[in-house]
Amino acid sequence: MIAAQLPALQIVIPLLGAVLTAMMRRGSWAWAVALAVSWTMPLIAGALLIQVLNSGPISYALGGWNPPWGIEYRIDALNGFVLLLVSLIGAVIMPYARVSVEKEIAPEKQAWFYTMYLLCLCGLLGITITADAFNAFVFLEVSSLSTYALIALGRDRRALLAAYQYLILGTIGATLYVIGVGLLYTMTGTLNMGDIAGRLDAVEDIRPILAALAFLTVGISLKLALFPLHVWLPNAYAYAPSVVTAFLAATATKVAVYLLLRYYFTVFGVTFVFETLPVSTIFLTLSLAAMFGASIVAVFQDDVKRMLAYSSVAQIGYITLGIALANQTGLTGGIVHLFNHALMKGALFLVVGAIFFRIGSVKLDDLAGLGKRMPITMAAFVVAGLSIIGTPGTAGFISKWYLAIGALEQGSWWLVLLLVASSFISIVYIGRVVEVVWFRPVGKMVAGVREPPNSMLIPSLILVAATIYFGFDTTMTAGVADRAAEALLGGNR
């Protein structure tokens, strides 16, 4: 009985949790609720994914209203995978959150922090699970609005400006998205994604459809921080509280990528998107610009958090490169990188949060000699950094391997060279940190510090261990991504 309601529970539980925490004063109680919710989520997502892999997509009619009239939750290999990713990251981050939040956020705001976090989680899971174009917009707003609040909770006053900047751009993105959905609704008379897909063929005037595609592409690209629509991201990541940065970097952009995949492959269909419009060329160009532009900017950052933020923009370029390739192998690479990058960037931001917890700064110069005082933490940084570079034996290598083979299948051997050349730039920016923390004499800020508390260290190490583990065992990552890519390209429409 419960099993049949799992799709709804995936959304309802965090929502209820948010209501509950909103009524609490004490940060620690709210944290306990958030922890309970965060640990339940992967169980549900895991159960759903197993069910999907064994017996095909799940369709769930919300409130008993059958689609296309009611809202449908639909889970297939792709969004089952993303659901699991988002909820796993939440589950790993929550134990970490308590000490970090106590340090970085004023006591009277801590309970609110958890409310916003749960709303954000609910929104992200909602975008992923729903098969209704407008419902996705609602969840997009739920997650975005809570994200603005989360970023604004950052201790640095510039966090307000960063949140405001994101608010403006995020709202523009959401507006463009809803315009796109409106156009689709006008032309097809339905909001259910599967239904839209079925009716698009019959539409004679394709100009509004093209416009809808353009609006949706730009709107979603703003959310996923596709170069050059990424300008909100570095500030938002740099000034948000540490936990928020780690959570957003690992989930928010990934969910936006998922939404784009859903529209391109399920709603509009491969042929329409990639043959009537030069989408492939546009994405290829922008991905490469991100891979090189953002990586080079990352090399010149003095603040480690900002450096990693620019690195994220670059890494998103790899994911969109997979979309641009639009063949089985390339798309698998993009999807698997979505997962792998979430792990490694989550790990890196957690480590950076732990550093901030101990020395109150993440300026590169302040970290001199830190490797001698926090050897385990910094070793975790190095391993996750190797994964960013794409060293074999780490998860990052797997994604790049698929992307490279995908590029070759398309005959673009030069793309392989560009792929590895951009990896080389990441050696430089990761290497800068390594040199400062291991080879400079111990600085003033670092003199008396020790390893962070276990509640911070262990979650970071779990994610780092996962980046290694998924560099060897890829049945879950590449295996599922491969099936998802096959379903996307196999013409669900």
Partner: protein, 492 residues
């Protein structure tokens, strides 16, 4: 014990040893005993595997597939066997030497030094026993990363700068050139397994072969083919035992060994010989060989001179691979072993001189032979072996390489080999001669003999004796190399 278990054990032992060394941090004697025990156990296992290989077996493990087409697997073939023997035999000698050197110089952070050393050896054995290019690449990168802390061991500005060059060049070439070559090979051939006769025959032709070969040969940065050799002199900031075992044996030989493996088991020497797409490499290697020697002549710092000498000697092996005939293969492979023994002796001597007399420049060594006769005698033996004179092992590598060049009809190359030997004489022999017969500025020193610690001398004695023994008994190595299956039957 079954073959596949022994192979896994050989790779796992030094990894486990590294862990144990780390755990025995609290007692220096126990820690050193752990290093020696691990090294002893490793050579024992490697020799067991050697028995199997000589008996005609090819021990191999099953493949652990990561994604389709990428698998981790180990298997032993004669060339890898030779490399593993050289590395593990010299590790034990080098460990004895390290103990004398590190204690004699009161180096800091010795535990991490021995840990990284064991990790480096583990990845070297992994490289030697890799069954496919991906596994090899994995261990290749681990080798780079585990040796970085060794290069930067002194942790001063020079060490950091040297380490930066080291890491950037090795990681850079491997990601930007080597990796794309692997990706392309996997794409073209559909496999990465080392296969007798190569995997590209009939699948790649014409300039594609030349381009792939270039990506491999320059991408395997550890082979130090010019212009990607700068990391090797930069790595000389490391303590001398590191320069001795890693930058004269394990790391650089892993480079040329990989080059050799790629030529024999990925391209196949027939494909290269018939397509003629490797001719350019002969000339690039010859240039690297001559220029390396010429630069060595100009270096006054002893370790820098030895480093450029290594650059030059590595090019011999690449040259052997580029000749793409049986004699070239035998010569190149032979040179891997012979040069290793000779060059490690020279580095041992350099370290002994530094420990006992605190001298690093060639010009300061004049007259020092009277206080350190044993060290300089060993230096002379090592130098003569490198030059390739009888009765020293170094002769054999050059002998077969010359035969290979003749076989390929490259008379110019034979001449270049001769010129290079003359250059070797010019930059190596003056060092012991001036030490013995020159007069130190300020008159001859008195005070009798003052040599390095005993542990260092034992190691020097062992390797210089090996230089002589290998001249008289190259048989076992030849026998092993003749087992190499090139796809068209065994080598001559």
């Amino acid at each position: 014990m079954s073959g596949d278990f022994l192979v896994v054990l050989a790779v796992a032992l030094p990894f486990v040893g590294a862990g144990l060394i780390w755990l025995t941090d609290w007692n220096a004697n126990l820690r050193e005993a752990t290093t020696l025990t691990t090294a002893g156990a490793l050579i024992w296992v490697v020799l067991k595997v050697l028995d199997l290989v000589l008996a005609g077996a090819a021990p191999a493990t099953g493949a652990f597939e990561i994604v389709p087409g990428l698998a981790i697997a180990l298997s032993v073939e004669p060339l890898g066997m030779l490399f593993a023997c050289v590395a593990s035999a010299l590790w034990i000698v080098n460990s004895i030497y390290s103990i004398g050197y590190m204690r004699g110089n009161k180096e800091p952070r010795q535990t991490i030094f021995y840990v990284c050393f064991a990790l480096a050896i583990a990845s070297t054995i992994g490289i030697a026993f890799s069954a496919n290019l991906f596994t090899l690449f994995l261990f290749y990168e681990v080798l780079t990363l585990s040796t970085y802390p060794l290069v930067t061991h002194k942790a001063n500005a020079d060490a950091v700068a040297g380490g930066r060059v080291y890491l950037m060049m090795l990681l850079g070439t491997s990601t930007v050139l080597f990796l794309p070559a692997i990706v392309a090979t996997a794409f073209i051939a559909g496999t990465l397994d080392f296969t007798p006769g190569g995997i590209l025959t009939g699948k790649a032709e014409g300039p594609v072969i030349a381009v792939l070969l270039a990506l491999y040969m320059f991408g395997i940065g550890k082979a130090a083919l010019m212009p990607f050799h700068r990391w090797l002199p930069a790595a000389m900031v490391a303590p001398t035992p590191v320069s001795a075992l890693l930058h004269a044996v394990a790391v650089v030989k892993a480079g040329v060994f990989t080059a050799m493996k790629v030529v024999i088991y990925i391209f196949g020497i027939d494909l290269l010989a018939t397509s003629g797409q490797s001719t350019w490499l002969i000339w690039v290697a010859a240039a690297s060989l001559l220029i390396g020697s010429l630069v060595a002549l100009t270096k006054d710092n002893l370790k820098a001179r030895l480093a450029y000498s290594t650059v030059s000697q590595l090019a011999y092996v690449v040259l052997g691979a580029a000749l793409a005939n049986a004699w070239g293969m035998v010569g190149g492979s032979m040179h891997i072993a012979m040069h290793a023994v000779g060059k490690i002796t020279l580095f041992f001597c350099a370290g002994a001189i530094y420990t006992a007399a605190h001298k690093t420049e060639v010009s300061e060594l004049t007259g020092l032979g009277r206080t350190m006769p044993f060290t300089f005698a060993a230096f002379l033996i090592g130098a003569l072996s490198i030059i390739g004179l009888p009765p020293f092992g170094g002769l054999w590598g050059k002998w077969y390489l010359a035969l290979g060049a003749l076989d390929a009809g490259q008379l110019t190359i034979v001449a270049i080999l001769m010129i290079s030997s003359l250059l070797n004489i010019a930059y190596l022999l003056p060092i012991p001669f001036k030490a013995f017969f020159g007069t130190a500025p300020g008159g001859p020193k008195r005070g009798g003999i003052k040599e390095a610690p005993l542990a260092c001398l034992i190691a020097i004695g062992l390797t210089s004796a090996a230089c002589i023994v290998l001249f008289f008994y190259p048989g076992p190595i030849l026998e092993l190399l003749q087992l190499i299956d090139t796809g068209k039957g065994a080598l001559p």
